[in-house]
Symmetry: C2
């Protein structure tokens, strides 16, 4: 289900000098943004604008992050909103904005000013319109990310591939629904969904200046709040996994499940340490069931751990590599599973308590290095 299938949502996008996308979506809005102390001008302006909880439209550009651009960057972000607001005949504070791309360069505002009316004139509700918008917002992504729930109706479109760490990172995610909630309710639900999905996502540990997740409701239909929360959690987790799958150069999705930790906090630390470990990530890329690196990551996670653990790999089938601290010697079988699987689950069981934790990551390949050493300033 495309975002344009949500009633009240129209969009358009182009990909030329920059990507430029526009959405018309009168309703309520809530947002979660980067925790990086250096925030892009678009994040600063967007946070300010959506504080009122009302939205008429959204403008997004890719190719230039409008970050580290000082006062001029802020002016440019406001100007983008103002131009769209005048076309939409609304207040500029009812326009949300997001940017992604290179840091430290001023936007080419001549191009932007010329193109906003052009993109605006193309707004529409077909699948093609949704696809154009999705393509307009991506950077090094191999594919646009989309996820939806049929009922309650939720449709999300996202970009994100590199620079992904816990606490989000260069990802933009725009989630639309016709379920009727005010902006306060939307914020609470978005916060929970983000904590359980994007905040568990680790590609390379870097956190961007531009992360933006917006939840926008066109407020057409009353929906049970628990149902909506569940559906929203599912949509966000689905998008997060797609981002991990598209981690720059990633060949495998890696999910880490920890149980039996002292508490949930410890379990999350362990899960994140494993999903973040470059040595674990490169081993997975090499189809190498190197559980020693998992043990090492557990050990430095800061959590209370000892050697009495189970370590299980699951792909096309499952294999226990360590049982109660004793290696089972089943590496060859595990290697076979790794070779055949695009999605790997690493399960770690401790005997410290009832803590459970989860993290999402991906492997680390030559292409990660290639993409990031050649993506130029």
């Amino acid at each position: 289900m495309e975002i344009t299938e949500i009633s009240g949502v129209e969009c358009a996008g182009i990909r030329e000098k920059y990507g430029l996308g526009i959405v018309r979506c009168r309703g309520f809005v809530a947002g979660v943004f980067t925790k990086n102390r250096i925030k892009s001008a678009s994040v600063i302006v967007c946070k300010d604008h959506i504080a009122d909880g009302r939205i008429e439209g959204l403008i997004v550009n890719s190719g230039n992050a409008n970050a580290f651009t000082g006062e001029k960057g802020i002016e440019n972000a406001r100007k983008m909103c103002r131009i769209l607001a005048s076309l939409m005949k609304c207040d500029e504070r009812e326009i949300a904005i997001a940017s992604t791309g290179i840091i430290g360069r001023q936007l080419d505002m001549d191009w932007i000013e010329k193109k906003i009316p052009e993109v605006y004139s193309r707004l529409g509700k077909t699948k093609r319109h949704a696809e154009d918008f999705a393509k307009a917002i991506i950077t090094t992504d191999r594919f646009p990310k989309k996820a939806y729930s049929k009922y309650p109706r939720i449709s999300a479109v996202a970009k994100g591939a590199g620079m992904i760490s816990p606490n989000m990172a260069t990802m933009l995610c725009f989630i639309f629904t016709d379920a009727k909630f005010d902006s306060g309710e939307l914020y609470e639900m978005l916060k929970e969904a983000v904590d359980l999905s994007f905040n568990r996502l680790i590609v390379d540990g870097d956190m961007s200046t531009n992360d933006t997740v917006l939840l926008i409701s066109t407020a057409r239909e009353r929906v049970n709040r628990d149902d909506f929360q569940n559906a929203l959690n599912g949509v966000c987790l689905n998008v997060a996994k797609q981002i991990a799958m598209d981690g720059e150069g990633a060949t495998k999705l890696v999910e880490v499940f920890v149980e039996g930790a002292k508490n949930n906090c410890d379990a999350l630390r362990i899960a994140r340490a494993i999903a973040s470990s470059l040595l674990v990530k490169t081993a997975i890329f090499g189809n190498d069931p190197n559980w020693g690196r998992i043990v090492a990551a557990m050990g430095y996670s800061g959590a209370d751990v000892d050697e009495k653990v189970d370590i299980i790999f699951e792909g096309v089938s499952e294999v226990k590599l360590v049982e109660d601290g004793v290696p089972t010697g089943r590496e060859e079988y595990a290697r076979e599973i790794l070779r055949k699987s695009d999605e790997i689950k690493i399960k770690v069981k401790l005997n410290k308590g009832n803590g459970k934790g989860y993290a999402i990551g991906c492997d680390l390949s030559y292409d990660y290095v290639k993409l990031n050493s050649e993506y130029t300033t």
Copy 2:
């Protein structure tokens, strides 16, 4: 100056199924070990043995970390010490031990037991003996690491290439001196030197189960303590830089200098965040002066930062890329410098206070991925 040039130090080493090295070094000893909660059997036994502060000999193997090997691993580590102690006619607690290599496999003790007497019989004081020992302890290192001070006489030998993070990681470093200090004094001085060198070193953020730094004094000559501390700091920093240079797949040494932070703690956070950033590391590999990634790393370091910074790259010459928060547009010149330099200094100046910080790292190349996806269990 080789370790064998320290009076009272003899050594030998072989490289066959495993590397195996032995040092005779009657005197005082102090050690700093991994902070990983999962510690190798050799670390557990070594900590126990050197607690008395006296040492007669040291035994080191490479190729098998003797980590995650349970009670049997501990027994094997003790047995290695016992065999050497019987040859050296001392107490087994006067033998220090270290291991590095694959985690989770029991040592082939038949091989070890057969080879200890053989290596022991080769102990000697020539340059060749020192070289044999240095080669015996390395794993994926491209070269053994050595550093020395002529006076006070200090000579160090080390291994370490991958899995290096703040708080050390798979590195072994054995530092010998004839300066007369007791084990308590040695410990205090070693702690300071390690804090200023190995604990600033970042290759991939993983921390091993086996890190061991020993400072061994054969106690022949009285030396001024301040002189010794300075010399020791220099030796450790020299070794740390060699390890960064030999970071798996590294092509460039990267030193990060931060000044003007709110305090030293903030400055160190910023320095570490920059040196750890995969995006910064891959950019340096690609000769890409992508200061935007430096800004992003500063922003998520947790330190108090704003955009009013200077960012300077220094290699064969120096270039200011950002001045008081404004990009200078000198990327092409910076690219040229990166291309021509094996050693890069990244200097960041803030206006928050007098905090200074320093970190050592390296770039991230294809070969990092290659080495770590193919170094097999």
